[in-house]
């Protein structure tokens, strides 16, 4: 008998047992099952995309199944916040070790009550990045590809059993880790506002290509720009009298080259804040002040 191997196995087992205590199985009905993480005594988090617009789901712990209400979904970072008292211990508040490419991590979730565990590797770690949908993620964490559907929304734990990220399925079979800090930020926003507030200007945009002369005139290195092709009635943009055809140059000092840039710049502004929107209108540069409001939800 090889004692080093059995010890190694036992240590792995202990870690898995600890991790699965803080994860749940989520059942959306019609046999669709994935996982979630017990954040605190009344909050579970999971992957927003996996919910598919459900407004309640069944949450399974080892011994129990309870109905949970979905408080908020942030599609841009793929985080959903559920209100449910599971009685299960929340994830450890201890800060995880800094991940490094090649690190072993444990992905833990449940298929209904049954434990589902996958040992895998961190493929890539990088600085903060922006998802294609304009979500800001505090770090890039890419895990080995091919996450099983049941582990979507599962916890990703380091070798000390501390939560590092939530595992989600990205495009082309990639597995992404939504960093713990990002999840914490969304949970805090939801606990404060009851939802993830979406700052909004009320403009519809079209991409334009700026030619060299105009780039020079505007002192912009990039060739991409956006012009206003529509203004929503009663929106902040309408109040600020933005016009069809305005080229949006910057918002609160942030250069705007694409619609996603604008979305991100707005999320940096507080709701109700007056921000300066610099535009080019009929050959003239203008500064306008816009009061950022929340996107209407009805």
């Amino acid at each position: 008998m090889n004692s080093a191997l059995t010890e190694w196995g036992a240590a792995r087992r202990a870690l898995a047992e600890q991790a699965v205590a803080s994860v749940v199985g989520i059942d959306r009905g019609r046999g669709v099952r994935f996982s979630g993480i017990v954040w605190d005594s009344e909050t579970v988090v999971t992957a927003a995309e996996a919910l598919h617009g459900a407004d309640s789901v069944t949450v399974h712990t080892a011994h129990d199944a309870v109905s949970a209400e979905i408080l908020a979904c942030d599609l841009s970072v793929d985080v959903a916040v559920l209100k449910v008292e599971t009685g299960a211990p929340g994830v450890s508040a201890a800060t995880p070790t800094a991940l490094f490419s090649g690190d072993d991590v444990l992905i833990a979730g449940r298929s209904r009550a049954a434990c589902a565990v996958l040992w895998t590797e961190v493929e890539e770690v990088g600085p903060a990045w922006r998802s294609r949908s304009g979500g800001e993620l505090d770090r890039l964490i890419r895990l080995s590809p091919g996450l099983p559907r049941t582990l979507e929304g599962a916890g990703t734990f380091d070798l000390e059993g501390r939560l590092c990220a939530m595992a989600v399925r990205g495009p082309r079979h990639h597995t992404l880790g939504i960093p713990r800090e990002t999840v914490a930020r969304i949970v805090a926003a939801v606990q404060q506002h009851g939802r993830v507030p979406q700052p909004y200007l009320g403009v519809r945009l079209q991409p334009v290509r700026l030619d060299a002369a105009l780039r020079q005139q505007l002192s912009r290195p990039g060739a991409d720009g956006v012009i206003v092709v529509g203004i929503e009635p009663d929106s902040p943009a309408a109040a600020a009298a933005l016009l069809f055809g305005d080229l949006i140059l910057s918002v609160a000092g942030e250069t705007i080259e694409t619609a996603v840039d604008l979305k991100v710049a707005l999320t940096h502004a507080a709701l109700g804040a007056a921000v300066t929107v610099q535009i080019q209108r009929a050959g003239t540069r203008l500064d306008t002040t816009v009061i950022v409001r929340e996107r209407p939800r009805g």
């Binding site: 617009g53 403009v203 079209q206 529509g230 939800r297």
Partner: protein
Amino acid sequence: MTGLDRPHDTPVDMIIAAAGADERRTLVELTKDARFGVGAVADAPAALAALLRADPAAWVVTGGTLTRARPFMRAARTAGAWVVAVLSGRAEAEDRLDLGYRGLAVLRAVPPTERFQAATVAVRAGLSAWDPDLQFPADAVDAIETPLSPRERRVLELTGAGLSTKSVARQLGISPNTVKFHLQAAFEKLDVTSRAEAVMVAIRRGELAV
């Protein structure tokens, strides 16, 4: 110098070129409220020059090989007019770029009114406007793009705000199944598979507000 800086006595500041009669009919429809002149022009640059001396601010022209012809562009440049082309696909666009066209819009079965108007506004302001179809990946470009219906737009907007299917249904006074139906139709039109992607593609296409 931008289009707007040019003296007011310049009779024509923009030419909207379409390859054939069908496109021209659509353009006439799109531009009927504006001061646009309309004419089918022969290949001869002389005919174009005559047209450019006429009164309306912009002209919609069609005719044979005209839109491909270098003499056409030379005549337009001499007159100080920008050219906006309405195309039926990506392949044509490459030629137009070489010739110095300033605005390109792809014509679809349902006219992309807002984009077309935006292109004309941008070109008048001295900018170039490319249809998003012409700058996104080739596989997405060849697909015929259909605008979202107002209902699909609304469903997607509320979905993007994080509302559940049932909440969207309540807001709009329709059934959850109808919401799913609209969402599925929007996914197909936008060629996406996830909600986050659908919202982003719709924003990029100018269908949803930021």
